[in-house]
């Protein structure tokens, strides 16, 4: 049994300390150690995007990042997207555009779309489709997700 490592990181703006094994992924640490289960595991090999989080300003599949790599980093997850004031415009747009069916891929899409729209709020359909190509959805055929992200961009520009 390998020893545990003490990691100090910032999750959704809050300093967080946790202990993990060196072999544990960031996804596992978030879900099983810190208890934040909003990031989802669909494949555990970086191909589905359901575990997407923002790490120091870049979106990553947290199943391919080790927990110990979060040391000193800024991690932003689905749990930090809404605020006490209410839902983020992307979340509202997903609801109103019926952009989710089963919902398992939704956290990953929202975290990924947020990173895009914060940098490029006027991203067009082609750009959105390219950006979200790392997130798999099996329910919607992507149509309503892409429309929701276009809609969210309009809300964020307003």
């Amino acid at each position: 049994m390998p020893g545990l490592v003490h990691v100090t990181t910032t999750i959704n703006g809050n300093q967080t300390d946790f202990l993990c094994e060196p072999r544990q992924s960031l996804l596992e640490c978030l879900r099983d150690v810190v208890g934040m289960t909003g990031s989802k595991e669909g494949c555990n090999d970086g191909n589905c995007g359901a575990c997407t989080v923002n790490l120091d300003g870049r979106i990553v599949t947290s199943c391919l990042v080790l927990g110990v790599e979060a040391q000193g980093a800024e991690v932003n997850t689905i749990e930090g997207v809404a605020s006490a004031d209410g839902l983020h415009p992307i979340q509202q747009a997903f609801l109103e555009n019926a952009a989710l069916q089963c919902g398992i891929c939704t956290p990953g899409f929202i975290v990924a779309a947020k990173a895009l729209l914060e940098a490029e709020p006027d991203a067009d359909e082609a750009r959105i489709r390219h950006w979200l190509a790392g997130n798999l959805c099996r329910c919607t055929g992507y149509d309503k997700i892409v429309r929701a992200v276009i809609d969210a961009g309009e809300r964020m520009r307003a």
Binding site: M1, E21, R23, R31, G35, M36, T37, G38, S39, K40, E41, G42, C43, N44, D45, N47, C48, A50, T77, I78, E79, V81, A82, L87, Q91, F94, L95, E96, N97, A98, L100, Q101, C102, G103, I104, C105, T106, P107, I110, E125, I128, R129, H130, L132, A133, G134, N135, L136, C137, R138, C139, T140, G141, Y142, D143, K144, I145, V146, R147
Partner: protein, 755 residues
């Protein structure tokens, strides 16, 4: 290019047909929704499953002693822990197939029948320890030759999966000789040979389709706690909690009331989570360890140990006369059942010609065992494969006759009163309306120009299902209503059921509070599947609401001290028919507790009248002549929904089904090595469509009200996956002047066809 989604409405309602936000939406966009793996329990152990590395092998011995000695391992189970594993055909008689096969698919006893077949399971303090322990289990296999192709499995001399029980020859005759053909069925109508003799053109072709996976993003998972008092609590990702309850009780030989199943939020299913794999294993581990146990599959295990939809072979022959009428049609299908009998070949055969008025027809099908996982349902099971063949042959008939493919389909379309080959007569249906919508659509009226481009069209059919559903409805003192249901919400059904309840009660959608509950807390409810949930559970909600209305009328009459016959319920108001007395729903609700107690409406039903669904899809493609890669340029899907309760979620079903069909047509397949190893068991290599591969999917919802439902609802979830395989193949065919008869239509297969 896209056009706005259209709804061609027959009837307008107050709540039905609107697009409210779903009740579970906020939890799902904030990451708070509780899926199975999100469950945490005190003292929870974590389990992993050891799976066969061989596609076909006899299990001679299993030694778990080294794994048991590993620190942190709490329990190990094998088939020896399952009560049916040791029982013989003599012990079980006619129940052998039912119980032994069920049991063996949870944990293999004598033989491993596919790579990925569960052999043993380990519960430990954490999943890493459980995984380490799997590597310490010694299994002594006698490796056998596998067969993974449906035609090879039907040949004399093929390796046999079950050498002691199958007695159907490849020609469909019962014989004493064992074979892999588990069953054979055949239906005939009219005089097929005479019909062909009267035709002016005949097209006959063979087709194959590969095994494909449902591809839900959430892997299978289950948590079980076998308590000291014998009660087994199960939490899992399932389309049908009552199916899990019944089969778990069966396979563990306990009473059904000893098992309580709580369906957690479900991360996709598409039919594949009607089947289940982990729950009894978790229960056995829990009993041994004396603690709750959670077990989940990796993505590779999902591919190798669950699903898939069957690979198929088929031969289709159709004849038509110069007036453009079909004179005869014939289809022969062979579907892969996987390791145990039960492919949807019957559904494939009976859907095959359902779009066509047929005087003379023959359909037949073989259910064939191969060394693959036992096939699971996948959205309109069997119908997409059949349509892939039939709709291409129809397209070729149109080419030979020089007629428009929509006009030909209209000219031969089934209508109310048409009789299918296997017997049933259609009630009111909307195929003609769908075809007319296609003909009138801007997509179809705009010519497709440019080299290497082609347009394809195809129709599809699914019968839909009724089945049991239950709803309880309790009126709260603030005038809201708790709606308790047993149908897992896989794509917005809380909303579509709440809308029907609100419409019936004449109150607002926001005042209905739906909840999906466990098997102890609601009456019997069948699976979320078969396109039945909005139809049947919606109907249960309507009846429960009618029950509430009746009780509200009685209560008002009692308060006013008048006969209840003098009181009526109208649009959310209880009023006296002749006097100036009335309560709004909210006013009366506030008084219930002080005027005789609360009101709960309840309904359980098993409705027929589910109506049938038809869809027509149009697709434009461009094929790169250098690489053979197909790009989808434009896609329009048209479907009769009867009445679209929540049009956005109907569109979502249509769009999702169409894209799964595009994946089935162009990319997706289980790729097997000669020794039966799946070579592409990851999302990298089993390539499902991404957002980058697709345009918007335009939809047209046609509403031909189903006379078999109070609001005219037809199921919508399944039929949208039926047309795309053939629509895409027809389009690629026109772009390349080749018939692509084998799925998937990969770039390589397009280039090969051109050589």
């Amino acid at each position: 290019m896209t056009t706005p989604n259209q709804v061609l409405s027959e009837v307008e309602y107050d709540v039905i047909g609107k697009r409210p936000v779903r009740p579970d939406g906020v939890d799902k966009v904030t990451g708070r929704a509780q899926y199975g793996v999100d469950l945490e329990l005190t003292g929870l152990l974590h389990a992993r499953v050891l799976r066969s590395p061989h596609a076909h092998a006899r299990i001679k011995a299993i030694d778990t002693s080294k794994a048991e000695a590993l620190a942190g391992v709490r329990a190990i189970v094998t088939a020896a822990d399952l009560p049916f594993a040791a029982l013989s055909r003599e012990d079980l008689g006619n129940d052998y197939n039912r119980f032994k096969f069920l049991s063996d698919n949870f944990l293999a006893s004598d033989k491993a029948l596919y790579r990925g077949h569960a052999i043993a399971a380990v519960a430990a303090d954490n999943a890493h320890i459980a995984e380490s322990a799997l590597a310490l289990i010694d299994v002594d296999y006698e490796v056998l030759e596998p067969v993974v192709d449906v035609r090879a499995a039907m040949q004399d001399g093929s390796p046999l999966l079950h050498d002691d029980l199958i007695h159907t020859s490849a020609m469909g005759e019962i014989s004493d000789k064992p074979s892999n053909v588990a069953s054979y069925m055949k239906f005939e109508k009219g005089e097929t040979a005479a019909g062909f003799a009267n035709s002016d053109v005949i097209v006959e072709r063979e087709f194959t389709t590969a095994s494909v996976h449902q591809g839900y993003i959430e892997p299978h998972n289950a948590t079980a706690h076998w308590r000291a008092d014998g009660q087994i609590n199960v939490w899992c990702s399932t389309q049908g909690a009552f199916v899990v309850r019944a089969n778990t009780a069966d396979v563990l030989r306990v009473d059904v009331s000893d098992v309580r199943v709580t369906p957690m939020e479900i991360g996709g299913g598409f039919g594949g989570k009607v089947s289940f794999y982990l729950e009894p294993v978790a229960a056995l581990l829990s009993r041994k360890a004396g603690a709750p146990v959670k077990v989940l599959m990796s993505r590779t295990e999902v591919f190798e140990g669950s699903g898939p939809a069957p690979g198929s072979w088929m031969r289709v022959k159709m004849g038509a006369n110069s007036a453009g009428k079909i004179t005869a049609a014939e289809i022969e299908l062979a579907f892969e059942a996987g390791a145990y009998p039960g492919s949807p070949v019957m559904q494939g055969a009976t859907c095959a010609f359902a779009c066509y008025e047929l005087e003379n027809g023959t359909v037949s099908g073989y259910d064939v065992l191969v060394n693959k996982p036992k096939t699971a349902a996948y959205r309109a099971p069997g119908s997409p494969q059949a349509a892939f063949g039939v709709e291409q042959v129809v397209d070729e008939l149109c080419q030979k006759l020089g007629v428009d493919p929509v006009e030909f389909r209209l000219n031969n379309a089934v209508t109310e009163g048409s009789r299918k080959v296997e017997g049933p007569v259609f009630q009111k249906i909307g195929l003609v309306e769908c075809l007319e919508a296609a003909r009138n659509h801007e997509h179809y009226r705009t010519p497709l120009e440019g080299p290497n481009r082609g347009r394809g069209i195809a129709s599809g059919f699914w019968m839909n299902r009724g089945f049991h559903s239950s709803v309880n409805m309790t009126v709260n003192p603030d005038g809201t209503v708790n709606l308790i249901e047993g149908s897992v919400d896989i794509g917005g059904s809380r909303a579509s059921i709440a809308q029907q309840a609100a419409e019936t009660l004449g109150i607002s959608y926001e005042d209905i509070k739906p909840q999906v509950v466990d098997t102890d807390s609601i009456g019997y409810t069948m699976v979320t599947g078969g396109s039945r949930t909005t139809f049947a559970t919606g109907w249960a909600a309507i009846l429960a609401a009618e029950d509430v209305k009746g009780q509200m009328v009685e209560r008002a009459a009692s308060i006013w001290d008048v006969p209840s016959e003098d009181v009526e319920y109208d649009s959310g108001v209880v009023r006296h028919k002749s006097q100036e007395l009335s309560f709004t729903f909210k006013e009366l609700a506030r008084q219930l507790y002080t005027t005789g107690g609360g009101i709960t409406g309840t309904a359980s039903l098993d409705p027929t009248g589910e109506g049938n669904s038809f869809g027509v899809h149009l697709v434009d493609v461009e094929v790169d002549p250098e690489t053979g890669k197909t790009e989808i340029l434009r896609y329009t899907a048209i479907q009769d929904a009867g009445k679209a309760v929540h049009p956005s979620y109907v569109e979502g079903q249509i769009q999702g089904g169409a894209v799964q069909g595009i994946g089935w047509a162009l990319n997706e397949e289980y790729y097997f090595s000669d020794n039966g190893q799946m070579m592409n068991s990851s999302f990298l290599d089993y390539r499902m469509p991404t957002s980058l591969d697709l345009p918007m999917i335009d939809t047209v919802i046609v509403e031909v009200a189903n006379p078999g439902h109070p609001y005219g609802v037809r199921g919508v979830g399944e039929v949208p996956i039926v047309p795309p395989l053939a629509a895409v193949a027809n389009a690629v065919g026109h772009a390349t002047d080749q018939r692509l008869t084998n799925l998937p239509i990969t770039p390589g297969s397009v280039l090969e066809a051109r050589l």
